[in-house]
């Protein structure tokens, strides 16, 4: 680490306000930051914490309804950024200060080829073009691991995947060797696998240069894996600033501690303990309390906290904390549960000899679960049975196909899935975007009509689409959607929303439905007064609670949860997960829980199914999934999880980020184009068999389970396998 004493960026006393209806509301107050060359400082906060506002202010990008209040200082190298005109800033933007936004697709000009755009940047920065610029660009594309850089340069942005677009924006930002780089959630919205690749890239690129990076994110895992120092923002104020190790190991602020312990860690399961969570919601910008901004939600709150705002104190070791009771925190009045680390040592010692090898004979079972998968955890009756379920979306013919009279191959979104779910159990479904998991959910709920295969609920065949299903089936199947913003009708009150299914599906009278709606509200921990509110008066977490109450209203046997917490803030997310677990205990409903976040799925699920390109590749008990043997794909997914623990280090398995199209699926094993453990031609020609391990654990791969176990327990390095 090139830790010079020179600060690249010094920010003091920065207060940023927004105009809301003729009033200036300070969104960020008294912000402070030190950044040295070559350092990555993380800025973590939930939505509304002001982290993106800080980024905009640092970049001088504030729109006309935002302003930096006087009295602050914003010093970049020798330049006082607050005194700069836009024209002067433009010179800095051209070369010395760069920004990487969250939405790469929006940042790239859709009508200009990638190569032209990147070379433009170089021209603006250093005035070079032609051959020299082209070779610099190729070098940079190579540095950001873009495969086939010549072809990428010739493409338009929409022809690239999200991960590749983000690499391009990073290349554009770094090509002029900037001194300061501000990254605003650059991996949010990407798959974990892609995220891992991008983080790795950023880490590598920064360590080679002297660029200082301000990295803005809501994801503690990303911070732990990437940053040197971390600032925690809450409701526009710095709560704590420390080195990443200090922050995660000895948080001095109750909010930091709450945040860290509310993230489910990989391998943590509901059967062990509830998740910690922070009660309540962050304060609205317009109603910032006078004392400590966290007082409403703080477990340590005392009278002093509400009366006097705690100052931002500098502790002996250079950390900052804003809390009246940090000394007690130091002594450990609040403590976090120990972080389980199931990933590091192999829990199942590899069986090299002796004993009976478990199902490793390459026995080909095409319908593994129907034909005798045995779940030790599931002793309820079979609730839902999915057999060979398929959804092929037809593709419109293009001109060539019309002329040639050929049919285009359909998009095989779900392509032969067998699943079994027992009453009262949770089945987690994971996979990258494009794996078909959401389509599978929509087939089951009946929003999409299946192209083939069967679906049985309690032993009875279920019809294709909701329109054909009986009242009885409808009331047994419910769904909680991903986006709380859209899942409630903005023109219906909470009471109207919840009582409708009661009246429609359970035949309640209006009065009885109203009473029951209140009871349901109470069960999702919302006060009765919420009944008369409208969605725009609720926070994201509250909306999701209402959506959960609505799903439970018909007393269903199975609730499909499609990414129900991924749009929520970390501190709210854990409370919703706890709620889901508690409601399941009370009602005995089963969940089909879909998420791209393995830790979240791992927390709630009893069994987990891993999906890739329309097919399942691994099914097993939740705890099995985080141990060897893994399917090579699962292994990559698990290794890509950004673990919120800076000491955690695992060899990341980096997958290329071009998922094959579901219209043109790879032959043999569908994963072979990206599989780091591919054993040879057989993977390209033959469909892999299902192999059965302990407790009904099923893996679909040509590699026998014993060999997988050995390889994945670290006894044999990855390279030796292929």
């Amino acid at each position: 680490m090139s830790a010079t004493d020179r600060n690249l960026l010094e920010v003091d006393n920065l207060t940023i306000s927004y105009r809301v209806e003729d009033q200036w509301i300070p969104a960020v107050r008294d912000f402070r930051l030190r950044l040295q060359p070559g350092q990555i400082v993380g800025l973590v906060g939930e939505s509304g914490s002001g982290k993106s506002t800080v980024a905009l202010a640092l970049m001088h990008y504030l729109s006309s309804n935002g302003r930096v209040e006087s009295g602050g200082r914003l010093q970049f190298d020798d330049e006082d950024l607050l005194r700069k005109s836009n024209a002067e800033m433009r010179q800095l933007w051209a070369k010395r200060i760069k920004f990487v936004p969250q939405n790469a697709a929006a940042a790239l000009n859709p009508s200009i080829k990638i190569g032209r755009q990147v070379m433009e940047v170089l021209k603006a920065a250093e005035g070079i073009d032609g051959h020299e610029a082209y070779s610099r660009m190729m070098q940079m594309f190579h540095d950001v691991n873009l495969v086939d850089p010549e072809r990428v340069a010739e493409r338009y942005p929409h022809e690239l995947s999200g991960g590749m677009q983000q690499r391009v924006t990073i290349a554009m930002a770094l090509i002029s060797n900037p001194e300061l780089l501000i990254m605003d959630e650059p991996t949010t919205g990407l798959d974990v696998t892609t995220e891992a690749v991008i983080l790795d890239l950023v880490r590598g690129l920064i360590s080679e240069r002297d660029t200082g990076v301000v990295y803005i994110t809501h994801n503690l895992g990303v911070v732990a894996q990437l940053c040197e120092r971390v600032l925690v923002l809450y409701a526009g104020e710095i709560m704590e600033e420390a080195s990443v190790l200090d922050l995660f190991q000895h948080p001095r602020h109750p909010y930091t501690l709450g945040l860290i312990s509310s993230v489910p860690k990989p391998g943590q399961n509901k059967s062990a303990a509830q998740l910690q969570s922070i009660a309540g919601n962050p304060p609205a910008l317009t109603r910032i309390p006078g004392g400590c901004v966290f007082a409403e939600r703080c477990p340590l709150v005392i009278d002093l906290c509400r009366e006097r705002k705690p100052p931002l104190e500098t502790l002996g070791d250079g950390r900052l904390v804003r809390c009246h009771r940090w000394e007690e925190m130091e002594e450990g009045v609040l403590s976090s549960p120990p972080i389980p680390r199931p990933l590091v040592p192999p829990v199942n010692p590899p069986r090299l000899s002796g004993g009976v090898p478990q199902g490793g004979k390459g026995r080909k079972t095409l319908h593994p679960i129907t034909s005798g998968g045995n779940w030790s955890g599931g002793n309820g009756q079979t609730l839902m049975q999915v057999s060979d379920l398929m959804k092929h979306f037809p593709v419109e013919r293009n001109l060539r196909e019309i002329l040639g009279r050929t049919e285009p191959s359909p998009i095989r979104a779900v392509d032969g899935v067998d699943l079994q779910l027992r009453a009262g159990q949770t089945l987690g479904l994971v996979g990258e975007s494009g794996s078909g998991k959401t389509t599978l959910a929509r087939l089951i709920i009946g929003l999409e009509e299946r192209s083939g295969g069967g679906l049985q609920l309690l032993g009875m065949d279920v019809r294709n689409s909701v329109r054909e299903r009986s009242q009885d089936v409808l009331s047994k199947l419910q769904m909680v959607f991903q986006n709380p913003q859209n899942s409630l009708n903005p023109y219906l009150s909470v009471r109207q929303t919840i009582r409708r299914p009661l009246m429609k599906l359970r035949g309640f009278s209006a009065a009885a439905a109203d009473a029951e709606a209140l009871a349901l509200l109470e069960r999702v921990n919302l006060r009765a007064e919420y009944a008369e509110r409208y969605p725009d008066e609720l926070s994201g977490g509250e909306k999701q609670r209402v959506a959960i109450a609505r799903a439970f209203a018909s007393d269903p046997d199975l609730i499909i949860c499609d990414e129900p917490v991924s749009a929520l803030d970390v501190s709210v997310q854990s409370a919703v997960l706890n709620l889901l677990a508690a409601l399941q205990d009370d009602h005995g409903s089963a969940y089909l829980f879909i998420s791209h976040n393995l830790s979240v799925v791992g927390y709630l699920a009893d069994t987990i199914a891993v999906m890739y390109l329309g097919q399942l590749f691994e099914v097993g008990e939740a705890r099995e999934l985080f141990q060897a043997p893994y399917h090579p794909y699962t292994e990559a997914l698990v290794s890509a999880i950004p673990v919120p623990d800076p000491l955690h280090s695992s060899e990341r398995i980096l997958l290329s980020d071009d998922l094959p199209s579901a219209q043109n699926l790879p032959s043999g094993c569908r994963f072979h184009t990206r599989c780091p453990r591919k054993i040879g031609e057989i993977c390209e020609t033959d469909e892999p068999p299902w192999r059965q391990g302990d407790a009904g654990h099923l893996i679909r791969c040509h590699i026998p389970l014993e060999e997988l176990t050995i390889a994945q327990s670290g006894l044999i390095p990855l390279d030796a396998v292929d």
């Binding site: 709920i445 009946g446 929003l447 909701v466 329109r467 299903r469 009242q471 409808l474 199947l477 419910q478 769904m479 959607f481 991903q482 986006n483 859209n486 899942s487 409630l488 009708n489 903005p490 023109y491 009150s493 109207q496 409708r500 299914p501 429609k504 599906l505 409208y534 959506a547 609505r550 018909s554």
Partner: protein, 307 residues
């Protein structure tokens, strides 16, 4: 339930009003429209001469309106060549233009949004077929279509008292509807397409709600803001259309005090004699069209901000 809807509506109106105030030009537009509306409603009470065709006055009296002294005088806008009081005729003309344009807009918005909601929600070939018909209709220039329709209907010989005859009497209403239903339907359809993919609509489908319930209870409320904007826009075009048809001699028939007709009747040689008999109705048309436009601008701004 109704009460809640009303209270929501009230909030929306309040917000619209507040945002109107922040933009003086749309506030001015709204006030002017309100002024004309009062003329339209209470014209017979406000006009000095209740009968627009009262020819008992002197002919070709120049306007007696004196803005400096703030005096109206005997014939503020003068009298025309037949001795009719132009001031009274302008006031009384407001009623017909508001009635036809307003009613036409109302019919178009109701039928058009029902059609658009249905098309948008149903999708598939229904949407495809109706969509093509709409495209074809919209490809014809509005005025041409209007003239053709009027020509056809006026030339048909209907038995007096039959519904066809009633239709022929209200041919302008019919024209407005034929012209604007497709336009409103298109707006409603595109908003519906957006709303129907929202998850709350899917939640309703999962409950097995009927199509009618989903369209009117779940989707319609979210479509209303864009319909309100479209309605105010349609209204301003309708006023222009009614005035144009009157001017071309296809609208109201003499001696009705229709503004467009009044402009037409006092064109050419008559303009030299009684310029005021043309200028005041023309001015009324211009002011009303501009006012409605400003108002609809304000409504659009308020609605877009609210969403």
């Amino acid at each position: 339930m109704k009460l809640e809807t009303i209270s929501r509506l009230y909030v929306a109106i309040k917000r619209t009003a507040r945002s109107q105030l922040r933009h003086p030009q749309s506030a001015a537009g709204t006030l002017l429209v309100a002024f004309f509306l009062i003329l339209a409603l209470f014209g017979p009470q406000l006009a000095p001469h209740r009968n627009p065709n009262d020819q008992s006055h002197d002919v070709r009296v120049p306007p007696t309106l004196d803005l400096g002294a703030l005096q109206l005088g005997e014939h503020p806008f003068g009298t025309d060549r037949l001795g009719r009081d132009v001031y009274s005729r302008v006031i009384l003309g407001a009623g017909s233009i508001f009635r036809i344009a307003g009613l036409g807009t109302l019919i178009s918005v109701i039928l058009g949004s029902a059609l658009g909601l249905f098309m948008g929600y149903q999708g598939g070939w229904v949407d495809e077929v109706i969509g093509r018909v709409i495209d074809a209709l919209l490809a014809i220039p509005a005025l041409l279509l209007a003239l053709v329709l009027i020509g056809i209907i006026r030339n048909l010989d209907f038995a007096a008292g039959s519904w066809q005859a009633a239709l022929a009497d209200n041919v302008i209403l019919l024209v407005i509807s034929v012209l604007y239903i497709p336009i409103v339907a298109r707006v409603a359809r595109s908003t519906t397409l957006d709303i129907k993919t929202r998850e709350f609509v899917e939640a309703a489908q999962i409950r097995g709600e009927s199509q009618f319930y989903i369209i009117f209870r779940e989707i319609l409320p979210s479509v209303i803001p864009s319909l309100v904007v479209e309605a105010s826009l349609r209204f301003s075009y309708a006023i222009f259309l009614v005035a144009s048809l009157g001017f071309l001699g296809f609208g109201a028939r003499p001696p009705s005090p229709d503004w467009g007709l009044m402009v037409n009747e006092n064109r050419g040689g008559f303009y030299q004699l009684t310029p005021w008999a043309l200028e005041f109705p023309a001015l009324a048309i211009a002011i009303l069209v501009i006012a409605v436009n400003l108002m609809s601008d304000g409504i659009r701004r308020a609605v877009q901000k609210g969403t």
